[in-house]
Subunit: 422 residues, 2 copies
C-alpha cells in the first residue's frame, strides 16, 4: 500500500467507526472507559517494556534528559493515565444536550442538539500519556480518533492504543475496533496525506510547539483548532489594589513559567509604576527573572538583570524566567498593545475602576480575559470542564480551554406533523 | 501596489475596523443600518445607472438571460435591499449574549460571552443584492467584511458598498470607514492572497456553486464555512401516513426544485412501495419529473420518464425536475444510503413509528434532520433566525442555517477578587 492508500484506509475506517460510536449509550461508553483504565493498570509491565524500547532508542539518539523524562512511563504515570480515564468516565456525556429549542408558527418544533464531530486527528509530540488522554476524551464525546504521536514514543503509543481497543472490544460487542487508531508510519508526509482527506476527517487538533502547529495548519485541508503560543499580559491600572496586583503578577509569572498561560509581558500604568515596580522587583530579582524593558521602565528595574526590549520581544513566548515590562499611559494603550503583540490567549487587568475593567474585558480580543485574577486559570480543569484536550485561540469552533463539550458539533432536528413549505 | 500588498492593506484595514466595530452599541449599529437603508432608497437612480453599466457589459459578453436577470437591480429590488437592512436592524444584537456562567470554588466567576468573529470575507457570484445583505448581517454582528462579488456586478457592488459606508459615516462619527470593503480588482489570484492572511482574516464564507466553493476551500488558509451541495433525501417508512408522505414528498421535490434544500432522492420502504409510488407518480408525471431509478422501483414508475440510476446519480444535486428513486429494506438501509451518498444537508423520515424515527434522527449525520416534515424548511427565515447568510454542512463552527448568532464567536471573561493559582 502507498502512504496515501494507508492514510485513506485509516480515514475510511475511522469514519465508519464514528457512525457506530455515535450509537453507543453513555453507560456503554463509560463501561468501556473503565475497562480500559483497568486494562492499562493490569498491563503495567507490558507498557513499561514497550516504553523501555523507546527510551533505549532515545538514549542512542542522544535525546535530552528533559525529553527522556517526558517519554518515560513509570508505574505512577501509568496509574495517572488510568485515573484520567476513570475521571473522563465520570464526566457528563457531552452528546445529546439540547442547546436550543423553538416551535415555529406552523407547529414545526426545532431542537438544536449536540452531536459528536466525527473523526478527529490528534497530532502531538513526545509524551505518550497524551495517547490515553486524547483518545478517552474523543471516545467519550463519540468521536473516532486518529492519533499521531512523536516517533520517539511509537512503541509506547502503540501498546497504549492496543490495550485500550482490546479492553473496549472485550467489554462491548458493538465496540468499533477503529474507534482509536494510531498512525504507525513515521513518514512525515503521513500528516499531509491524512489532513487532505476532507471526506473522512472532520477536525485536526495539533498539540505541541509553534513550529509543529504552523506546519500542520499550513498543510491541512480540514479544519484545525489550535493555539500557536501564549503571550499573556497583566495590565496593572492606576487604580489597582497594589497588594492584589503584586500577588497576581508574581503568580502569573512565577507559579509555572513554562506553560502557555503564564505571563510574558507586564504592562503598568505610568502613574503608579515607581511604587508598584518597587513592590515586585525584589521577588522577581530573587527568582533571577530577566527583564526586557522599555526605556521608561528601565530606571525602576535597575536592581535586577535588565535588557532593553527589542521589537520582537513583545510577541515572544519565553516559557522561562524572562519578563517584558512596559509602561503605558492608560488602559487604551494597554489594550492596543495586547491586541497588537499578544497571542489572543489570556490577558488580565488589575484595577478597582469598573469602567476601565469593562473596557479592557470588552476590547481585548483574546480567548480569555480576566479582571483581578491571574492568567494562570486558563485551563480546562480550572474552568470546571473536568479535563482538557487543549486550548484554542481560534475564533471559529471552540475558543479558550477545550473539554468534552468543545469536542462536539450540533445538528438541528425538526419534529413535524406533516408540515410542508408554502 | 502589488496584488499581495493591496490585499494585505484590505486585511489590515478590516482588522482595525473590526476593533472599532466591536465597540459600537446596539443602537449605534441599528442607527447606521437604518440610515444605510434610507440612503439606498434615495440613491435608486445612481444605483440603476451603475447597474446599467454592468448590464451593458454583460449583454456585450452575451451572458444568459437568467444571468442578466440575477444581475438586474430595479426599483423593487432596491427597496428589497433597503427592507432587508431594516429587518436586520430590528433583529436582536447577537453580541454580548451570556452563553454560560459558572462560579468556581475559589470564587472566580466565569462568563462565556458571544463576541464578533472579527473579519469575515464573503465571496459570491452575480447577484448584487448579496452585497447589502451580507454586509448588513456582518455589520450587525460586529464583524468587518471584505466582499468579493462576481466581476459582472462590480459597478453595482461598488456603489452599494459606497452608499452604505457613506451613510454610516454621516450618521455616526465613530463609524469605521473600513467596516465594509469591496475587492475591486477582478484578478482571480486576489482570493488566494486574501485567504492567506491568517493574521487579519478570521473566516471566509463562499456562496455559490460547488466549483466556486471547492476552489475557495482548496486555497484558503483561514477557516471556511460552507456547503458544497444539497443532496437531500426523504425516506418513506413502512409505517408512514401515506397521505402525509405524499404531501411531503411532492413539496420537497416540486415546491422549488432549484434550491439546495429540495429533495433529490426518494427512498421508499419496499413493503409499501407499490402503493405509495402509485399515489405520487401521477403528479410527478404531470410536472414532467424524470426518474433515475434503481431496478426494483422501475416497475412502479413506468408511466413516467424513467432512466436507470447510475452510481453517480445518487450523489448528484440536479436542482431540476429530476428525482432519484430507490427502494430499501428498512430504516437501516435508508440511513446508510443517506450517510454514504448524501451531502449532510437536510434529510427527512416520514413514519408513525417512533423508534425508527429516533434512529433516523440520531444516525443520519446531516446538519438538519426532519421527522414528518419537508426538507424545504432548512432556511434561516423558516428557522426563525430572521435572516440568513448561508447554510453550513460543516461540523466545526456553525452547522445548518446561519443567521446573526452564527456570525459570532465567544470569549471567556473571568471576574476575580484577586484569585491566584495555587
Amino acid at each position: 500500500m502507498t502512504l496515501s492508500e494507508q492514510m485513506t484506509q485509516l480515514g475510511k475506517q475511522a469514519k465508519a467507526a464514528s457512525r457506530q460510536l455515535a450509537r453507543l449509550s453513555t453507560s456503554q461508553k463509560n463501561l468501556c472507559l473503565t475497562a480500559m483504565a483497568d486494562a492499562l493498570e493490569k498491563s503495567g509491565k507490558e507498557i513499561q517494556q514497550a516504553n523501555a524500547q523507546d527510551l533505549g532508542l532515545a538514549e542512542k539518539a542522544s535525546l535530552s534528559a528533559a525529553m527522556l523524562d517526558r517519554l518515560k512511563l513509570d508505574e505512577k504515570r501509568i496509574s495517572g493515565m488510568a485515573r484520567g480515564l476513570r475521571d473522563v468516565a465520570a464526566l457528563p456525556d457531552p452528546v445529546g444536550r439540547i442547546l436550543d429549542e423553538r416551535v415555529r408558527p406552523n407547529g414545526l418544533r426545532l431542537q438544536k442538539v449536540s452531536t459528536p464531530i466525527g473523526v478527529v486527528v490528534i497530532i502531538y509530540e513526545s509524551r505518550p500519556n497524551v495517547t490515553a488522554d486524547a483518545a478517552s476524551l474523543c471516545f467519550k464525546s463519540g468521536n473516532a480518533t486518529i492519533l499521531r504521536g512523536g516517533k520517539e514514543a511509537l512503541h509506547s503509543n502503540q501498546i497504549i492504543a492496543r490495550i485500550m481497543v482490546d479492553a473496549g472490544r472485550k467489554t462491548l460487542s458493538q465496540f468499533p475496533e477503529h474507534a482509536i487508531q494510531l498512525v504507525t508510519t513515521t513518514d512525515r508526509d503521513a500528516i499531509r496525506e491524512l489532513l487532505s482527506l476532507t471526506q473522512y476527517v472532520d477536525l485536526c487538533m495539533p498539540r505541541g510547539g509553534e513550529g509543529l502547529i504552523r506546519a500542520v495548519a499550513e498543510c491541512s485541508k480540514v479544519p484545525v483548532i489550535k493555539h500557536y503560543k501564549g503571550v499573556c499580559h497583566v495590565f496593572v491600572d492606576r487604580d489597582a489594589d497594589l497588594k492584589m496586583a503584586t500577588e497576581i503578577v508574581l503568580n502569573a509569572k512565577l507559579q509555572r513559567p513554562a506553560v502557555c498561560n503564564a505571563m510574558e509581558t507586564l504592562l503598568v500604568d505610568k502613574s503608579i509604576a515607581p511604587q508598584f515596580l518597587s513592590m515586585i522587583v525584589p521577588t522577581l530579582n530573587e527568582k533571577k527573572v530577566e527583564f526586557r524593558a522599555d526605556s521608561e521602565s528601565q530606571p525602576f528595574l535597575k536592581t535586577g538583570k535588565v535588557k532593553p526590549a527589542a521589537e520582537q520581544d513583545w510577541s515572544t513566548e519565553y516559557n522561562d524566567y524572562v519578563l517584558n515590562v512596559r509602561l503605558v499611559g492608560n488602559v487604551r494603550e494597554a489594550i492596543d498593545h495586547i491586541n497588537h503583540y499578544g497571542s489572543a490567549h489570556s490577558d488580565s487587568i488589575v484595577t478597582r475602576n469598573e469602567d476601565r475593567a469593562k473596557q479592557f474585558l470588552a476590547e481585548v480580543d483574546s480567548a480569555t480575559v480576566y479582571w483581578n485574577a491571574s492568567t494562570r486559570f486558563t485551563d480546562g480543569g480550572e474552568f470546571g470542564m473536568g479535563a482538557e484536550i487543549g486550548i484554542s485561540t481560534d475564533k471559529v469552533g471552540a475558543r479558550g480551554p477545550m473539554g468534552l463539550e468543545e469536542l462536539t458539533s450540533y445538528k438541528w432536528i425538526g419534529y413535524g406533523t406533516g408540515q410542508i413549505r408554502i
